[in-house]
Symmetry: C2
DNA sequence: CGGCAAGATTGATGAATGTCGATATCTGAA
DNA sequence: TTCAGATATCGACATTCATCAATCTTGCCG
């Protein structure tokens, strides 16, 4: 195990790095990855963009199916993923379901990057 | 080469914009999704976190295999994805390969979110 | 030269994902 | 109540992905 820099293995009680947490925990990484997974699809990014620019800040599924050139079940599936990631919110009025950006969600996601 | 039609109706304040660009293009969405795909894995997020906090801002593969509990080929594979996404840079010195954060890459990625 | 260590690449495999067609659920109107 | 439209859910399929074992490439040093 030749290491280029002599790294003392696991003798904690060290003087010089008191809270040297080496990285975010596996659980925290898993949680953050869920949000980025929701953003890791072109059609979902376009959905966010369309909803953000939509009149009134909200759009229903029928307005989203055509510009993406996707079937209605597929759009509904993507919207569900975005809602579960905390990026979109859903409000049903009558027969229609209106989706809108969760306030501050984009800023919080950017914070997940900065605090890596 | 400059097209005279490249003026966009940006500052026409009160008048409505009839040709409202509905969203980012499919190609742009695809390009941005590549970056978020690189972030959509817990182990890659931990890799970024470890490299960011590493002494000197860089770490070699041998330092990354153990904390992630992954095999060396798998770590190498993840690092390649992060390099191709423009988040990490690779510098080979001797037998060792040192990875470090690309300056400003995290901020640029946050900008991809804000400009949706 | 030969051997060795670090890291990258290849091939294979099981799991996760995006998409669609068919169907179910729910709501307003006749 | 019955019908029609909007949306959600289910089942299936093809593709992508994460991981590992084995192998290859490269650079160091005896």
């Amino acid at each position: 195990m030749s290491s280029p820099q002599t790294l003392e293995p696991a003798v904690d009680a060290d003087c010089c790095a008191p809270t040297q947490k080496p990285a975010i925990s596996a659980g925290e990484a898993h949680h953050r990855a869920l949000v980025f997974k929701a953003l890791a699809d072109p059609n979902r990014l376009r959905l966010l963009s369309i909803v953000k620019r939509a009149d009134g800040g909200e759009a229903c599924v029928c307005d989203l199916t055509e510009p993406l050139d996707l079937g209605q079940p597929t759009v509904s599936h993507h919207l569900k993923i975005l809602v579960e990631a905390g990026l979109l919110s859903r409000e049903k009025r009558g027969t229609w379901a209106y989706y809108s950006l969760v306030p501050g969600a984009v800023e919080r996601t950017a914070g997940l990057l900065a605090s890596l």
